[in-house]
Symmetry: C2
Subunit: 373 residues, 2 copies
């Protein structure tokens, strides 16, 4: 009674995306009351307060279909970036736009180039379409744009560059980007996934908007899931030249963005105070993590995002489990072929303290651990 | 600077889905204060009150990613339908599951069979994948399952049966369904889109769950957008045998269903009082529409849903515009090749009255109208 056909073999072989474990699930399984989740790069300060207020005013309207054109949010974003509304497409999280890009631009056997240890979604969505993922090596845990450029062929249609990258937290410079984009052949669309843009210091920020304004085959992805604290609502957007937005819109589900998301996002954009507070906390957390990781003598990748990739001298699965049993959820990196690493999201300062206290206890455990620190 | 490749030609030729016009847009354009929207088959009573309360309690949690497994809602639905949780997949509206089905089961050149004048999304999503839509004729404005059966070939992978169908409001009987499913070849998946299920009288309801329980290649789609009044939140689900849910899950975005939707839907399921009230209003509206349409001597398709397809003796575009200028939004049917028809959603009894008063005025307009009633 099973359906069989060619592409199914590809689909069956896909390693599914492994999300961070929800708090309620960990509470259920481990009988824990307090659980700290440092697994999904969420904003530990919660949602932007102005967004919460906007939702409260609008709940009674959820019986209406959302505005398929996303008028108000696109208008607001256009003004913010000095673009036209026709340069903006909204998504059910920026992750849905990754899917949309693959449906719009990949035929079976077309190639998508990205880096090894990039956000795993690029490979998954490529394989959905029967496309061929091509992975360039990293340099110093960072996207190597030269290595990516060398892998462009006549079959290449899409390139994904996560900047900063998840799970490494590293970024590429504007000089590297400019050299890369300037040499790009015309049959290729390059996507700069800037989900962690809002955590960058001004001098670190990518200057990719200029390519959109120039009408190049460049797509920028941003999200409200991180610094704006709206991950549960699912809101992301693409900035791109009109000809690309047109092609992406053809394969966008008309009602992909729910009404409360469309209401909350413009309010969050107005919540400058919350964004500043979130950035300031992230700066403090980053310093605290660096200090503690150095103190513990642990290896890690210097980060410019709201999380850090930590390398241990032993399989991280046991450390992950030990942390979990004590109520701290982190993210194992098996899917990225980094069995000795964990990705840890910065929490509140108090949560960070609990994490390091719990980590020290976990590392001190003698059970099946070849060496104790 | 344009990207070109084979499937693009198909994508470019797709007639995009034309949604009902949002109230705010019509207010903006026509300078109207009060606008009545009878264009999108929404519940005129608003959202289920228990769902609204559940959202209010949960807004502070929207900074967390939604549960990728949809645990609580799937648990609740499994209990309600006497199925296992593994028989249920959630979607960003049931319309997203139509996309997921096409990505999971259609290779380029594979065939999808449905009826002419069925929900246009089946054809759109099929063409996204480079699939070939095959449209069987209707019989009496109703899906003709024999005509569909005759069009099954070795290349057929998917069949969509909307029951009741949008935009005709007609349904197929359990006897017809049984004859159809019993003869179905094993290489075909048949999808019963039952978005309007909750408006059916008990004796009209399709008995398709039995095929899911038997493990046949049958998928049932339901939604919270209609009778439960949650269209703006985007929640739908599929009921299907485990082997099909498994294949669909591979191409489902992990965080496709936002957190507030996952919270609101179980609460709406508990709101039996609201559902009964919605059904009762719909019964009254249906009767009122039939009476008025008969009184006006207008042609229409007898409906078992929350809307009715009305045929005029002249191009409906002018009637649509005349209604719009007076603040009543209905749905033109150009996309369904029915230029003389409008689809009208049942409103509150008061909204229905306004509609008929406005319609009579519009029909009485002499401007460019060949005959006045």
């Amino acid at each position: 009674m099973k359906v069989t056909y060619p592409r199914r073999r590809i689909l069956e072989s896909i390693q599914p995306y492994e999300p961070g474990r929800p708090i309620s699930e960990v509470q259920r399984e481990h009988g824990l009351e307090r659980v700290i989740k440092l697994a999904s790069n969420e904003n530990p300060l919660g949602p932007a307060p102005l967004a919460v207020q906007a939702i409260q005013r609008e709940i009674s309207q959820i019986y209406r279909y959302p505005d398929a054109s996303g008028f108000h949010l696109r208008q607001k974003l256009a003004a913010r970036f000095g673009l036209d509304m026709s340069n903006i497409m909204l998504g059910n999280g920026s992750v849905e736009i990754i899917d949309i890009l693959c449906v719009a631009f990949l035929d079976p056997a077309d190639e998508m180039v990205t880096s090894e240890r990039a956000f795993s979604k690029y490979v998954i969505a490529t394989r959905w379409m029967g496309g061929v993922p091509v992975l360039a090596p990293m340099k110093n845990w960072t996207f190597d744009l030269n290595a990516i450029f060398e892998r462009i062929t006549n079959q290449t249609r899409l390139i994904f560059i996560a900047n900063p990258n998840n799970p490494t937290g590293t970024r590429v410079s504007n000089e590297e980007i400019h050299r890369f984009v300037s040499r790009l052949p015309h049959h290729v669309v390059v996507v700069f996934d800037e989900a962690y843009f809002d955590y960058l210091e001004p001098e670190e920020r990518p200057d990719t908007l200029r390519y959109v304004r120039e009408g190049r085959n460049v797509v920028i992805l941003h999200t409200f899931s991180k610094a704006y604290g709206l991950a549960g609502l699912r809101i992301g957007y693409a900035l791109a030249p009109v000809h690309l937005v047109h092609e992406m819109n053809i394969v966008r589900e008309a009602f992909n963005m729910n009404h409360l998301a469309q209401i909350a996002a413009p309010a969050a954009l107005d919540d400058e105070e919350f964004l500043q507070r979130s950035r300031e906390l992230n700066r403090q957390s980053k310093q605290m993590f660096l200090d503690e990781l150095n103190r513990l003598g642990l290896d890690y990748v210097p980060t410019c995002a709201n999380f850090v990739l930590i390398h241990f001298d032993r399989p991280a699965a046991k450390i992950f489990q030990a942390l979990l049993r004590r109520g701290v959820i982190t993210r194992p990196m098996r899917g990225y072929h980094l069995p000795n690493s964990l990705r840890v999201t910065f929490g509140t300062l108090e949560e960070n303290e609990v994490f390091f206290r719990t980590l020290e206890a976990a590392l001190a455990q003698p059970v099946e651990m070849p060496s104790a620190p």
